[in-house]
């Protein structure tokens, strides 16, 4: 461990296991059958429904809600899974308030959209509880396809390929599949081991061989995969983390928010994690919110998010920002880190106020200090660029068919430039890449 932050107030057990368990309960508890019936009844079954248009995976939302209203939740789930095999996770993590629910005509009418996300969860939970996978692999095409990365994009791609009759090998660098669903999302969004259960559900179609602990560039290579398989899909996400590029960044109290979240998600007992009394999170996206809120829920006393631009520029949705503030997280805008400080008992981060200048963001020269026992960096992730495919601004370049610059190699999810870092978009791209691969192999 790098020197620094010794003596900082960082310890486990700030809250009891019971308190932590209560804090990490389901953010949106599941709807009961009656609640679902009432919520479903609010849907107008719109013509050419705007919610469906707003969904990156194009789920026939009006239809699945009608199926719930008609007491046919399994049929509703099938409608969802036909478009989005990770419909269960998307029901939990989609920023519905900026997608389907924002487009809902009842949002326009009364500011209270149909609860599409919770209804989707009701239906998908219902079918998944049956334990029977609703799809069969297609008649074998004799083709083998390598899918690299078992996150949302890779899972969606692998499932669709299996559905089409291809034999899929699904590689992942981590010991467990699931990608960000398993390692990168706040625990209260997916409690009860849901991410793991969902991977089992997706793989339940059969014809998908999972190989974990296989990292691209270390254990496997694109060239090798191209040799061994008929097509390759890269859904490798963003493995790297951006650096603050300020003095003191390498001090031991400075951690990656992504790492912190992954550690928490992997922990048997979260209350046993060492948590700082005062936590500063630097960044403005979902990861910053997830890290900050979870620190608070684990017993941190003061948690502050500092973001270099204004509120309107934050990548975290308004709902997420509200959630953070409700949980007691302070959000400070228009400030950038200047240096991480560790001088005796004075530990923390010195920030400089910023403003939007003619040449972009500029410092005002005025600084302030935020004391911290832990500093979490959440200023974005970067592609750990694989050998081969062309990249642009740190992301793999793909065409409308999700083909990379390499023949026989497709890509989707966070690692491509066309994405928006949403689970649902990754699923759509994985699925669409599978369709493209299928077209290419059966043409």
């Amino acid at each position: 461990m790098t020197h620094g932050f010794e003596g900082a107030d960082v310890k486990a057990g700030r809250l009891t296991s019971e308190q932590v368990a209560a804090n990490f309960a389901d953010l949106h508890p599941p709807l009961t059958r009656h609640e679902a019936a009432v919520a479903a009844d609010r849907c107008y079954f719109c013509y050419d429904a705007p919610c469906m248009t707003a969904c990156p995976t194009g789920i026939d939302i009006a239809m699945f809600i009608r199926q719930i209203a008609a007491d046919n939740p399994s049929g509703a789930a099938k409608t969802i899974f036909d478009q989005n095999i990770l419909g269960g996770m998307c029901a939990r993590v989609c920023p519905t308030e900026t997608l389907c629910e924002e487009a809902c005509v009842r949002e326009a009418a009364e500011g209270k959209p149909v609860e599409i996300g919770r209804l989707q969860r009701f239906a998908t939970d219902h079918l998944m509880a049956d334990g029977v996978h609703p799809y069969q692999p297609g008649v074998s095409t004799g083709r083998k396809i390598a899918v690299v990365g078992a996150g949302p994009a890779g899972l969606a791609c692998a499932h669709r390929l299996a559905l089409k009759g291809h034999a899929v090998t699904l590689f992942d660098a981590k010991p467990k599949p699931g990608g960000l669903n398993e390692y990168g999302i706040a625990a209260y969004k997916t409690p009860g081991g849901f991410a793991e259960a969902e991977v089992d559900f997706v793989l339940g179609i059969g014809n998908i061989t999972l190989e974990t602990g296989k990292a691209l560039g270390r254990d496997i290579s694109i060239d090798g995969l191209k040799w061994d398989y008929d097509a390759v899909f890269l859904g490798i996400g963003l493995g790297g983390v951006n650096a603050l590029c300020v003095p003191g960044e390498d001090l031991s109290g400075v951690e990656d928010a992504v790492e912190f979240i992954a550690e928490l998600r992997s922990a048997e007992d979260p209350s046993a994690l060492a948590i700082g009394r005062r936590v500063v999170v630097i960044g403005g996206g979902m990861t910053a919110i997830d890290a900050a809120v979870q620190s608070k829920l684990l017993g941190a006393e003061d948690v502050t998010i500092v973001y270099r631009r204004g509120q309107e520029s934050m990548n975290a949705s308004l709902f997420e920002q509200d959630l953070a503030q409700t949980k007691g997280v302070a959000i400070k805008h228009w400030a950038k880190p200047v240096r991480v400080v560790c001088e005796g008992e004075r530990r923390g981060v010195e920030f400089e106020y910023t403003r939007s200048g003619s040449g972009g963001l500029e410092g005002t020269g005025e600084t302030f200090f935020v004391a911290a026992d832990v500093v979490l960096k959440a200023i974005g992730q970067t592609l750990e660029t694989p050998e081969g495919p062309a990249t642009e601004r740190g992301r793999i370049v793909v065409d409308a068919e999700l083909r990379t610059s390499l023949d026989g190699v497709w890509a989707g999810g966070d690692c491509v430039a066309a994405g928006d870092d949403l689970t649902v978009t990754a699923v759509a791209q994985g699925r669409d890449a599978a369709e493209s691969i299928h077209r290419a192999l059966t043409a």
Partner: protein, 435 residues
């Protein structure tokens, strides 16, 4: 404040809201609670001969629900009172004595033998009750024994029994009619011929509310079997309104008082029945859904509406809508309207478009200049009103009359100023020239 006092065939009550003969009026306990809550009167649950009948010991009710499990229709297979006759008579007497200002009418159902009716009428008279209602309506159970709707479906029986009753009592006689017939005017006319002081309608509609697909049996299911019940509640109100209107506008029955029954749930329902000619209303399902306190809303709502309209007493508006109920052939075919969609209110759900496109006249757009936009195409619109009915936003789509002299783009014809109906239309083989 409007005067809600009611005088129905000489029976006075502080308001026109009576509880219908049904489970809520089976016992003194219930009726006293109803009067404490403010109900103007009750029709006591139907009395029969001893030995008293028995009811099933399984479920008696089935239901049809709308959104949020709102009860839209109730179906029952409960028979008439299952308590000894004398018990009921004693309680009726006690209640009437304790509540002299409230209407207490007693419903009766005994076999079609004159002696049965004359004897029970005497016993009811002794209680001091205000009148009797002859139950010729219940479609379930008792009809299998030649009573209830089995009588109500045969006008000759209605006339016969009504006459017996009129000849054997000084009390007003109200005849309660079954809707399970083809034309309500025939039984109603029979009641009038028999001397009835009034008719009350509707009784319940023969029905099976649902089928249990696991048991493969109708609901409510008793030991694997079900029997048709009598349907009531908001779902039957349109049927009841029509039947009330049919009687109210029938020349042969002019002046025959009507007690309106069938899905009355709010003051507005009551006002509608009364506007069509009912002198008062009777309520059951609403009370069985929400309890007796709903009468507070009914009294207040009706009173405020009457104040707003300047009606001092209920008779001021009773029957005002009756003359406007007519036969289709007399509707003005020269009245031309077009649907109009208020774009400021439109929430762009597109339901108007898809129903018009799929099931009607292709008269509503889905897009305009490439954007989602719903607008009526006057050249196709026949003013059917379907879009108004399916629009979730009240007042967003309206039907606007085209002024006389303007050209209807659908037909190319100038809208005439004068009235013209089917009897005068050139396409009618038996039309007569307009005068």
């Amino acid at each position: 404040m409007a005067d809600l006092r009611s005088d129905f065939v000489g029976i006075k009550s502080p308001n026109p809201f009576w509880l219908a003969s049904a489970p809520p009026t089976d016992k003194e306990y219930n009726v006293v609670r109803a009067f404490e809550a403010g109900w103007g009167g009750v029709v006591w649950k139907t009395l029969g001969l001893d030995p008293h009948i028995v009811n099933v010991n399984g479920p008696r009710y089935g239901a049809v629900w709308g959104a949020d499990r709102r009860l839209l229709g109730l179906n029952n297979i409960e028979l008439i009172t299952d308590r000894p006759l004398q018990t009921n008579l004693d309680e009726i007497k006690a209640v009437k004595r304790a509540w002299p200002d409230r209407a207490v009418v007693v419903s009766l159902m005994v076999p079609c033998e004159e002696v049965c009716w004359t004897e029970i009428l005497k016993q009811v008279e002794d209680t001091g009750a205000d009148g009797v209602e002859l139950n010729f309506g219940c479609p379930h159970g008792m009809s299998e024994r030649g009573m209830g709707s089995a009588v109500g479906q045969v006008p000759e029986y209605i006339e016969m029994v009504t006459r017996w009753c009129k000849q054997n009592t000084r009390m007003p006689v109200i005849v309660k009619l079954t809707p399970n017939i083809t034309d309500i005017r025939y039984p109603a006319r029979a009641a009038k011929k028999g001397g009835a002081d009034a008719v009350s309608l509707i009784n319940t509609v023969s029905s099976i509310t649902s089928v249990n697909l696991d048991l493969m049996a109708p609901e409510p299911t008793i030991d694997g079997k079900g029997s048709h019940g009598g349907y009531c509640g908001p779902a039957v109100k349109p049927i009841a309104l029509n039947m009330v209107a049919e009687i109210a506008r029938d020349a042969e029955m002019a002046g025959l008082p009507i007690s309106g029954i069938g899905g009355v749930t709010t003051w507005r329902d009551a006002a509608e029945f009364m506007a069509l000619g009912a002198g008062n209303v009777q309520v059951c399902t609403a009370a069985m859904t929400y309890g007796f306190r709903i009468v507070t809303e009914m009294i207040d709502g009706l009173s405020r509406w009457m104040d707003g309209k300047g009606y001092a007493r209920t008779s001021d508006f009773t029957g005002l809508a009756t003359p406007n109920v007519t036969d289709w052939q007399y509707l003005n075919l020269n009245y031309v309207a077009k649907a109009r969609i208020d774009q400021d209110l439109c929430i762009k759900c597109g339901r108007c478009h898809i129903v018009c496109e799929d099931t009607s006249h292709q008269a509503i757009t889905a897009t305009k200049d490439g954007a989602r936009h719903f607008e009526v195409i006057d050249a196709e619109c026949v003013a059917c009103n379907l879009c108004v009915n399916v629009c979730p936003v009240e007042g967003c789509i309206t039907m606007e009359q085209m002024p006389a002299g303007t050209v209807d783009p659908r037909t190319g014809r100038t809208v005439p100023a004068e009235y013209g109906n089917w009897t005068q239309h050139p396409n009618n083989p038996s039309s007569v020239a307009a005068e």
